[in-house]
C-alpha cells in the first residue's frame, strides 16, 4: 500500500463490568474513502466511536492515525488528531440555546454558520432553545459543529436515522465533499441502501469483533446481512409484505379520527382516519408539521383548531393521559423523551402501568415479570445491561420505547419512525409486530422517514406537505411517487 492509512485500529477492546462491548476490533480507513461501520444492535459500533473520539478509553489495543500511534485520552486529543464525531444521541443541553451550546464547546461559530448555509440550512435560528428544535435539525447542527473542526476523519454515528430523505441527501453531499478533499468519513447506519449507494468500503462488527470487510456495493445486501447477523441471518426473510391474508375486517368506524386539525405555525389543516386493523403510513419532508401532528394526536399538545375523535368519542386532551386511557399510545421521535435512563428495562417497560393513582398500590411481581418478559422477547431486546437503560445500545433503547406499550395493551398506536436505529434483523420483527398488532385489531399511524417502509408495512399512505395532507396513496405507490408528493409536486390522486 502506498498511501498510509488515515486510521488504523488494532485489537481494540472495551468492557463495561461484565458486559464485553468490544473484544478485538481492527479497522482500516484510507484517505478519500467513505467507510461504513456496520453491525447489529449492540455489536459495539457506538462504543468504538466513543473510543475513537476520546470519550471512552479502550481497555486494550492500539490506534494509529496517518501511520503514527496516538493516545486518545480526552475528546480534545481526538480533536487535535483531526477526528470529529456526530454521536448517536444529540449532544446539546436542552435548556440552553443552540448558540450557547456552541459556545460551550468552543467551536468556531461563524464556521458552523458557514457549514449550515453550505447545507442550505442558513435559515436555522441559533438563538432558539435546543428543546424547541426538531430532532432532525439538531442532528444537522451536530453535523455542522463537527464540520467546523474541519476534521480529517468525520465520524457519523447513525446521523441519517432521524433524517427525512431531503436532509439525508445533504449529508451524503458532505460525505462526497470530504472524499474529494482526500479526507475520510466513518459512516454508521442501519439503512443498507444508503450504505451501498454511498460507501466505498465497509467493516462489519459482530459481538465486538470485526468479522468482514468488503466493498458494500458488490455482493448485494445479502452479504452484508449475513456478515452482520452470522447464523441468525437465515431468520431474515426476503422482503415481502408481511400482511396476513386473514386480517380482521377493517371496521366502518375509525378508531382514531382527526378532523381539520391545525396548530401552531406548521400544522394547517389535517384530517385523517384510521380504522381497526389498518396501518396508515405518513410521509413528509422535514418540518411539514408531522411533529406537531403527532403531538396533537398523542394529547401532548392542544390543537388550535379541529377535533380529535377516539373510537367515536370526541376527546379534549389536556394531558397525554386523556388519550392514553382510551388506548392511544405514542412512540415518540426522540427516544430519550420516552426513557428513564437510570432505571432498569423492567421499570421502563412497566412505567405506563402506573399512570393512575388507583395503580399506586403494591405490585404483583410475578404478573409484571410475565408481561415484561413477553414484551422483551417479542422485540428481542438485548438484556445484558438491563439494570439501567442508558447503558443499552441505541437500537435496544429504541425497542424499549415500543415495548413499554406492549406490556400495557393498546387500541391505537402512533409510531414516529419506530425502527430508527434498529438493525436489519430486528426491523423485520418490528414490521411483523406492527402487522400483528393491526391484525389483533389495533389501528396504527406510522410516520416514517424511510419511505421504503411504507410499502413494507402500511395499508395506505398519506403525504404531508406544508401542514396539509396533499396526497393519499396506496401502499404500493412506490418511493418516487411518495417523494414527488412530499415535495408538493402534483400527483395523480389515488
Amino acid at each position: 500500500m502506498t498511501t498510509p492509512l488515515l486510521l488504523e485500529t488494532s485489537a481494540v477492546a472495551k468492557a463495561f463490568g461484565a458486559v464485553v462491548a468490544l473484544r478485538a476490533v481492527d479497522l482500516r480507513v484510507r484517505p478519500g474513502e467513505v467507510h461504513a461501520l456496520l453491525g447489529a444492535n449492540g455489536a459495539g459500533k457506538s462504543t468504538l466511536v466513543k473510543i475513537l473520539t476520546g470519550v471512552l478509553r479502550a481497555d486494550a489495543g492500539a490506534i494509529a492515525i496517518h501511520g503514527r500511534p496516538v493516545a486518545l485520552r480526552r475528546p480534545a486529543d481526538a480533536q487535535g488528531h483531526g477526528l470529529a464525531p456526530v454521536f448517536q444521541d444529540p449532544a446539546m443541553a436542552p435548556d440552553l440555546s443552540v448558540a450557547e451550546n456552541l459556545r460551550l464547546t468552543r467551536v468556531d461559530v461563524p464556521a458552523v454558520r458557514r457549514h449550515l448555509s453550505d447545507m442550505d440550512l442558513g435559515q436555522l435560528d441559533l438563538g432558539e432553545q435546543v428543546r424547541d428544535v426538531p430532532l432532525p435539525f439538531l442532528r444537522m447542527l451536530d453535523l455542522a459543529r463537527a464540520l467546523a473542526f474541519d476534521p480529517q476523519l468525520l465520524v457519523l454515528d447513525e446521523i441519517t436515522a432521524a433524517l427525512p430523505p431531503d436532509l439525508s441527501e445533504r449529508v451524503f453531499a458532505v460525505m462526497r465533499r470530504w472524499k474529494e478533499r482526500d479526507r475520510a468519513v466513518l459512516f454508521i447506519s442501519h439503512r443498507l441502501a444508503e450504505v451501498r449507494a454511498h460507501c466505498d468500503m465497509c467493516t462489519v462488527l459482530r459481538d465486538g469483533r470485526d468479522v468482514a470487510s468488503f466493498v458494500p456495493a458488490e455482493g448485494g445486501e445479502g452479504q452484508i446481512v449475513a456478515a452482520m447477523l452470522g447464523e441468525a441471518a437465515t431468520v431474515v426473510r426476503e422482503e415481502a409484505r408481511t400482511r396476513s391474508a386473514t386480517a380482521v375486517d377493517v371496521g366502518d368506524t375509525a378508531l382514531l379520527e382527526a378532523r381539520n386539525i391545525g396548530a401552531g405555525r406548521h400544522l394547517e389543516d389535517v384530517s385523517l382516519a384510521v380504522r381497526a386493523g389498518e396501518v396508515l403510513g405518513l410521509a413528509a419532508l422535514e418540518g411539514q408539521g408531522q411533529d406537531v401532528l403527532f403531538d396533537v394526536l398523542s394529547g401532548n399538545r392542544k390543537a388550535d383548531r379541529g377535533e380529535l375523535v377516539v373510537d367515536g368519542v370526541t376527546v379534549k386532551a389536556h394531558h397525554p393521559f386523556d388519550v392514553i386511557r382510551r388506548g392511544v399510545v405514542l412512540v415518540p421521535s426522540d427516544r430519550l423523551q420516552a426513557l428513564l435512563p437510570q432505571r432498569s428495562i423492567r421499570e421502563n417497560i412497566a412505567a405506563p402501568l402506573f399512570n393512575r393513582v388507583t395503580r399506586w398500590g403494591p405490585i404483583n411481581g410475578r404478573e409484571e415479570g410475565r408481561r415484561i418478559d413477553e414484551a422483551v422477547q417479542r422485540l428481542s431486546i438485548d438484556t445484558r445491561a438491563a439494570s439501567q437503560v442508558r447503558r443499552l445500545s441505541g437500537g435496544n433503547q429504541q425497542k424499549v420505547t415500543i415495548a413499554r406499550w406492549l406490556a400495557r395493551g393498546l387500541k391505537v398506536m402512533l409510531l414516529f419512525d419506530p425502527t430508527r436505529g434498529i438493525d436489519v434483523g430486528t426491523k423485520h420483527q418490528v414490521y411483523d409486530l406492527v402487522r400483528a398488532l393491526a391484525d389483533e385489531g389495533a389501528a396504527i399511524v406510522m410516520f416514517t422517514s424511510e419511505l421504503r417502509e411504507i410499502g413494507l408495512v402500511c395499508d395506505r399512505s398519506a403525504v404531508l406537505h406544508n401542514g396539509r395532507i396533499v396526497a393519499e396513496l396506496p401502499a404500493d405507490a412506490g418511493e418516487s411517487a411518495l417523494l414527488r408528493a412530499a415535495h408538493g409536486l402534483e400527483t395523480v390522486p389515488a
Binding site: A11, A15, A62, A351, N355, W360
Partner: protein, 348 residues
C-alpha cells in the same frame, strides 16, 4: 466465570498490561465492580469502622446505654431523612421538615387538653397540610422546591411565633403517649421509638421497591417528559411525595419532643442539614432517579456516630463543624466515585 474473553495480542507494552487487567476483570469481577453493586455493604462497613474508632475515644458505646443513646438520637434524624429521600428521589428537597416538625410537636402539646388522639391527629394534620401546600406549589405551579420549602420554613416560623401570643398560647405539656414512645425502652438497648422507625423503614423500603407509587417516584426523578408521555401526571406524584414528606416530618417532630420531653419553636432545626446529608451519603442522587431508603438509614446512623465521635474530640466548636462538614463531603464524594454514579453519561 462464564464470560472469559480472549483478547488478541495488543501491540504496545502498555496495553498488554491493560489486557491482563481486563482479562482479570472479566474472569472475576474486580472488588470495585462488586462493591459498586453493593453500596449498602460499603456503607455498613463505614459504619462499623466509624463505630470502632468512636469506641476507642468513648467506650460507653459498648454499653447498653451507649447503644441506646445512638439509636435514640438517630431515630428522628432518620425520619427527617426519610422525607428528604422521598423528595430527592423526585429531584427535589424539603427544607421545611424541621419547622414542620416543630410546629406539629407544638400543636400536639398545645392541644393535649383535647385528649391524645385528637391532639395527635391535629399534629399529623399540620404535616399533611404543610406538605400539601408544598406539593401543590412544586407540582402544579412549578415553584423550585428549594425556594418553596425554604419559604415555607420561614412562613411556619412566623406562624408559630405569632401563634404563641394567641391561639398557641397555653399548655406545652407533651402527651404521655408521645413521651412513652419517644423515651421508653423496648428491651435491652432498643428504645421504643425504634418501633416507629422500623415501621417507617419497612413501608419505605418495600414501597419504593414494589409499589406503583414507588415506581413513579423514581420515574419522575429520572425523566419528567417520559413520565408525561407515559400518561403519568407528574403533579400528582409530587403532591403525594410532599404530603408524605410533611407527614414524616410531623412524626419526627413528635418523636423528638417525646425524647426531650419539651417543645420549642426551633428545637429540631439542627437536624435539617444532617437530614439532607444522611440522604446524600446514603447514595440517593440529588438530581433524582436513583437511591433508596436503605442507604439513608445507614447514612443517619453514620452521622449520629460521627457526631458522637466529634463531641469527644477536644477541639473548638467551630473546628468541629468544619471537620463534620469535611467528613460528610468526603463520604458523599467517595460514594459517587465508587458506584460510578454520574450526573449524565455522554450520548450513545
Amino acid at each position: 466465570m462464564s464470560d472469559v474473553t480472549p483478547i488478541a495480542a495488543a501491540t504496545t507494552e502498555e496495553s498488554t498490561q491493560v489486557v491482563a487487567e481486563i482479562v482479570r476483570e472479566t474472569v472475576r469481577p474486580g472488588w470495585r465492580t462488586r462493591l459498586a453493586e453493593q453500596p449498602a455493604l460499603v456503607l455498613a462497613g463505614v459504619l462499623v469502622v466509624l463505630y470502632a474508632v468512636t469506641v476507642w475515644k468513648d467506650d460507653s458505646l459498648l454499653t447498653v446505654n451507649g447503644v441506646r443513646s445512638i439509636l435514640l438520637l438517630a431515630c428522628p434524624l432518620a425520619v427527617f431523612a426519610a422525607s428528604q429521600t422521598l423528595c430527592m428521589l423526585t429531584g427535589g428537597v424539603d427544607l421545611s421538615v424541621a419547622m414542620t416538625a416543630n410546629f406539629a410537636a407544638y400543636v400536639a402539646a398545645n392541644q393535649s387538653g383535647r385528649g391524645p388522639w385528637i391532639a395527635l391527629a391535629m399534629a399529623l394534620g399540620v404535616g399533611v397540610g404543610v406538605g400539601a401546600v408544598n406539593g401543590l406549589a412544586v407540582g402544579v405551579f412549578k415553584v423550585n422546591p428549594l425556594i418553596m420549602t425554604i419559604g415555607m420554613a420561614s412562613v411556619l416560623l412566623g406562624v408559630v411565633t405569632v401563634g404563641l401570643r394567641g391561639w398557641l398560647a397555653g399548655s406545652t405539656d407533651v402527651l404521655d403517649v408521645v413521651r412513652t414512645v419517644g423515651s421508653g425502652t423496648l428491651i435491652g438497648p432498643l428504645p421504643t421509638n425504634l418501633l416507629v422507625w422500623t415501621g417507617i423503614s419497612l413501608v419505605l423500603v418495600l414501597g419504593l421497591r414494589s409499589s406503583g407509587l414507588g415506581r413513579v417516584i423514581y420515574a419522575v426523578g429520572d425523566n419528567q417528559i417520559a413520565c408525561r408521555l407515559a400518561g403519568v401526571r407528574v403533579w400528582q406524584v409530587l403532591l403525594a411525595v410532599y404530603v408524605l414528606s410533611g407527614l414524616l416530618a410531623a412524626i419526627g417532630g413528635l418523636l423528638f419532643s417525646g425524647t426531650t420531653g419539651s417543645v420549642g419553636v426551633d428545637q429540631t432545626n439542627s437536624y435539617l442539614l444532617p437530614s439532607v446529608a444522611a440522604t446524600v451519603i446514603g447514595g440517593t442522587s440529588i438530581l433524582g432517579g436513583t437511591g433508596g431508603y436503605t442507604g439513608t438509614i445507614l447514612g443517619a446512623l453514620i452521622l449520629t456516630v460521627l457526631n458522637r465521635l466529634l463531641l469527644r474530640l477536644e477541639v473548638s466548636e467551630a473546628f468541629r463543624q468544619i471537620l463534620y462538614g469535611l467528613i460528610v463531603l468526603a463520604l458523599a464524594w467517595s460514594y459517587v466515585r465508587l458506584t460510578g454514579q454520574k450526573v449524565r453519561e455522554g450520548g450513545g
